[in-house]
Subunit: 446 residues, 2 copies
Amino acid sequence: MIEPRTLKGFRDHLPAQALAREGILDVARRVYRSYGFVPIDTPALEYLEILTGKGSEETDKQLYRFKDHGGRDVGMRFDLTVPFARFCAQHIGQLGVPFKRYHMATVWRGENTQRGRYREFMQCDFDTIGTTSALADLETVLVVHDLLSQIGIKSFTIRINDRRVLSGILERLGLVERSSTVLRSLDKLGKTPPAAVAAELESNGIPAAATADLLSLAGLGGEPGGLLAALRGLVGESEGGRAGVAALEGLLAGAEKAGVQAGRIVIDPSIARGLDYYTGLVLESFLDELPTLGSICSGGRYDNLAGLYTKQHLPGVGASLGIDRLLAGLEELGHLQSRETAADVFLVYFDQQHRDDYLRIATALRAGGMAVELASEPKRVGQQLKVAAKKGFPVALVIGSDEFAAGTAQCKHMASQQNVVIDWHGDLRVLVDAVHSQLEAIKAGH
Amino acid sequence: MIEPRTLKGFRDHLPAQALAREGILDVARRVYRSYGFVPIDTPALEYLEILTGKGSEETDKQLYRFKDHGGRDVGMRFDLTVPFARFCAQHIGQLGVPFKRYHMATVWRGENTQRGRYREFMQCDFDTIGTTSALADLETVLVVHDLLSQIGIKSFTIRINDRRVLSGILERLGLVERSSTVLRSLDKLGKTPPAAVAAELESNGIPAAATADLLSLAGLGGEPGGLLAALRGLVGESEGGRAGVAALEGLLAGAEKAGVQAGRIVIDPSIARGLDYYTGLVLESFLDELPTLGSICSGGRYDNLAGLYTKQHLPGVGASLGIDRLLAGLEELGHLQSRETAADVFLVYFDQQHRDDYLRIATALRAGGMAVELASEPKRVGQQLKVAAKKGFPVALVIGSDEFAAGTAQCKHMASQQNVVIDWHGDLRVLVDAVHSQLEAIKAGH
């Protein structure tokens, strides 16, 4: 006999987890579509040369790679950005720009499995390609906002910054050549005490005065007007820096026009997003109740998506929802419904001679838009109700010979254990309407 | 520069294809859930020993296999049944039986790429495990029926048979030992002329009289009563054979109770499903307009799912939707909507000073449940409308300075080129309701 087990760093998704994930994917799909984004898909396997040297040395090392049956060197995708760049180089002529796509798919990285990280996880990316329009930047932030709101997160903050602000400050400080060193250190702000970041900067030869200016970014806050004025001071005469500050100001104003609640989107000048390829807007988003979780949705604007595969210049902006991190966070906060069923009604089956009646009832309820699980085998009522309660059905319907004779049905609310008797006089339409009303009442919290 | 290309046998899904596939997956998810099936997921990679020797010599040969970073022999799943068997052996104690799951995921086979076959494709399986209930068999057929109906296929036929009928006939003919030879030949009926199948059977030493009886199966038809009587004659005294005929009779009766239109489900005694592991019900389903496409949804009942991994006996029944084959068939028949957008409204953006008004309108329409693409950049109206028409938007909304001044909007129906003027007097609620009504009218075919 073969031992049934999953590979180290991989996991099965049981129904409760799979349902929670499907729920979030469903919201993401709806929100992305509501802004005109369209889906694409690319293969899990790519020519190795497409994938290597695109992320970091680390992703190269983590790549699942092998020779296929035809002796080709292939690899499994480690993100959705590199395949998207390859995809655009091949198809953008046909699709036209601007092109707005979403892609929700699995990626693989053979990384260290410490700290609850998995080697297989999903990414949910959306990007607008082929335009430098500020409206595309604004829409990116609005999509992230709608996404987190519609997932049902009560309290979250989207932190935005503009890479040109940081570059402008470095320009004024004469540190443009040291950008990557500085950005790498600044990215640690929020996770590492400012003093440690200062020490790191100074040990890398950044002058103390400059370090003080850079670290002041982390302390900036308060109302947006004052913050923007402070940033204008820090970028001085730098043209890019001024454009960056103006862009942030425009984003906040646009978000307000689009009805975003004040405080949901804030400027955070310390967000650098490390050595990523962003050139304008950068954004991160956090659960206010669990900021240590890290950003659950991050992104920004970049200059050229597919330069390695095509001469066509493709600027873009987008973000990526970290669905596994978000699910872990919601679970930790107890905000995750852990139902093991997606159905509305459990139809108890205990009177074998009424099997055809149960079938007719289940069919009528389904035609009325409800999802119904009819027990596969006649078993004791108590045993069936116990399973229905454990799985999280809103209601169970009990109809035995007595009820059929009387034209009634017992509608049991599984959470409250309340029992409502429905008089349906053998009229299926009456039964369907009554069960529907019970479900609506439960949804409304009655 | 690196040449942007996909691997042989792999393909990108452009928006029109990806949207069509998402549409079918969405219907499948809804139908599976409406019967109480719940989702699960398993890793793309498994220990090699889990995957080898489970399908056929062919699937073993087609397996994508390699050594991972830890030196483990691993393989990419080639179907969803083998991972499900492994999954059940690990988790069924926790989940309990009967267990009804669906799994919609990608699988990989390094097979010959002739005849439009791909090395990466999706499967959409559903199964009920841990029960031998006839109701589970009936539900399987009903799910397939609802699935094909709700996908919008006007004319399809589900062909059912029971392996015990064939076994009963072989028992009466004294050919039980030759089952696999006979089944392999019978499975060619429908694709190969009966005379060729007869010749093959006879060349394998099946007596001519028995061959005549077996081939008579393909000719059986007409109303179900007569067909069932003929099968009863062919199985003679075989107990299993009689049980099989009774099961088919019960399935047809149950489907009628559940409101299935007569003729949608037919008994086809020639369906054998080759050397598969089925032991009771077998089913295939066909597009009536394109029978040569082959079965688009197939399945059946089996005795023991996970015998290689656990001592727990797990009988089950289920089926699998061949979504790629179905999509190819629908495309060939011209039944596939080839929209390149999932949005309802294209909001033309040509008057830069009204950007904030466009934002407010887009936000209001979205809040009203509509999906809206707002153009990223102000461009000529004609150019924007051309793109909107090509992508398949139902309506485009044109509101320029004149319209804003007059409190009107032009709502252009892209298919009919009809232009409806909306008087909204600057009241967003009026505009939202009016656009919603226009979309409803288009959906209703007005």
